[in-house]
Symmetry: C2
């Protein structure tokens, strides 16, 4: 049980650590933006880390990817044009393209190497990359959003890393103001929003404030399990442009024409119910 | 960030690890049964470990204790006599005694030192130990159950450690047969049942089989978050003696005369909804 055989990430701000037993390190690549490593683990399949932080594993990514895509898409009445900021592993893109009504899904990750490594180690997440509705861009998503036409997008999914370093701007009111402008009326944005236990009175609360400051009229956090992230409990936060994100197309979700491992209409309804300690933190 | 300042538990069978940053180790006691340590952590308050395994922390125990007590008590029509097997930290006992209808709650943990250390470091969990309805026994719970009168108990809560070593018997059909005999008609047992992600096709599935083999007619697993346990996602499994444990007193739960941090009627209803991968594993 020596430490050489484990990848252990110490989450300094949370004071918690998470680890996986390793078979081997497979890749270590320094890109213009970050240090990406690929690992083969004993029980979680492949693991991608960026700058030492756990990003995605074969075994448990379905929780995150399903919850970053299906709740927001079933909350919008008819999402046709979807933009994913970040999400270079392509798992969110795959889930988005399961919705037959989606006409275009644009994934904008600044670092192409994330996608190239994902194609190699997580081919299941990349199975829709060649879908004619998919567009993969490797540019700065914040800049793209600033320059995008007003009222041209139905759903924005911010599938980012933690709000420190490169992704910090993706949690700020300035960015959300651009997103608000770019969304059509009735459009919805969803942002990954960290741990309900660790961040309800900090990052999650600030996120709601920043989203409302940017003009969004309704905001809602949905918790879900995510073992490989700090505390094993994660969340996404939706914000609607003149639409109520606490409501969703329940019948369509219950009759969805694709399989999932975690998401169902019932799970969605359950996730809209916050425990009292979170309600208090966000009130 | 040296390892001396972290408690890191390597879950060998799961291939995962969980850690907390430490201020200090406060106690180390070898009892007749096990090695108990108390730690002061940076961000989770006090931590109790037994034989190196994380048992309870100040910060996140409310999730586990509320979900081990309120779902089962609101599933029973009128629970008067409750028995807790294990649960020496007294947190489950406290939650049980919040229900005004409970006339007697007997906690049976083999190791008195667990309760003595909990009184010292988790006084909030022990605040109902002197309730006249509370009975604390420090004896073998399996033997107690074997000798208990038939049809004398309404609810049994098995608040045990993992099904290896001393607690292994608490997951077996023999023990559940004793519990079935001891319960009144309409009685319910609940057992902590490990991680939905890691154990659905092993421990949880076996538990359902063993409970039904012992005569229980209805079984149901409820997932909930629990950061300090493997994968951060945990569960309890209920089994009813001639009663349907997928139903509960929703109105009473919604109007409960006490506050909680996690449990609500809506959370209970949500927890009854299993994700597709679990349904498949348990079908």
């Amino acid at each position: 049980m020596s430490d050489e055989k484990w990848f252990v990430e110490h989450f300094d701000s949370a004071g918690t650590a998470f680890g996986l037993r390793l078979k081997a390190r497979l890749e270590a690549v320094q890109t213009e933006y970050q240090h990406i490593e690929m690992w083969d683990t004993d029980t979680f399949g492949y693991l991608m880390t960026i700058d030492g932080a756990t990003m995605v594993t074969s075994r448990d990514n379905f929780l995150y990817h399903e919850m970053m895509s299906h709740p927001v898409l079933f909350s919008h009445p008819d999402p046709k044009r979807v933009v994913i900021i970040g999400g270079g592993d392509c798992g969110t893109l795959r889930e988005v393209l399961r919705h037959p009504g989606v006409e275009q899904a644009t994934q904008i990750d600044i670092d192409e190497m994330v996608t190239r490594l994902s194609e190699k180690y997580f081919p299941e997440l990349c199975e829709s990359n060649n879908d004619p509705r998919a567009e993969l861009l490797f540019i700065d998503g914040v800049k793209w959003m600033r320059e995008c036409d007003a009222g041209s997008i139905d759903v924005i999914i911010v599938d980012s890393t933690d709000p420190v370093g490169p992704a910090e701007g993706l949690f700020k009111a300035d960015f959300f103001r651009d997103c608000h402008r770019v969304l059509r009326d009735g459009g919805i944005i969803v942002q990954q929003s960290e741990s309900p236990l660790l961040h309800s009175v900090s990052i999650i609360r600030d996120l709601h404030v920043n989203m409302r400051e940017a003009g969004f009229t309704s905001t809602q956090t949905l918790p879900f399990p995510q073992p490989c992230y700090p505390s094993g409990w994660w969340s996404c936060t939706m914000a609607g442009k003149g639409t109520d994100v606490t409501r969703f197309r329940e019948k369509d979700a219950a009759a969805k024409p694709f399989e999932t491992q975690y998401y169902t209409a019932d799970i969605h309804r359950g996730a809209l119910t916050l425990p009292p300690f979170m309600k208090k933190a966000l009130s």
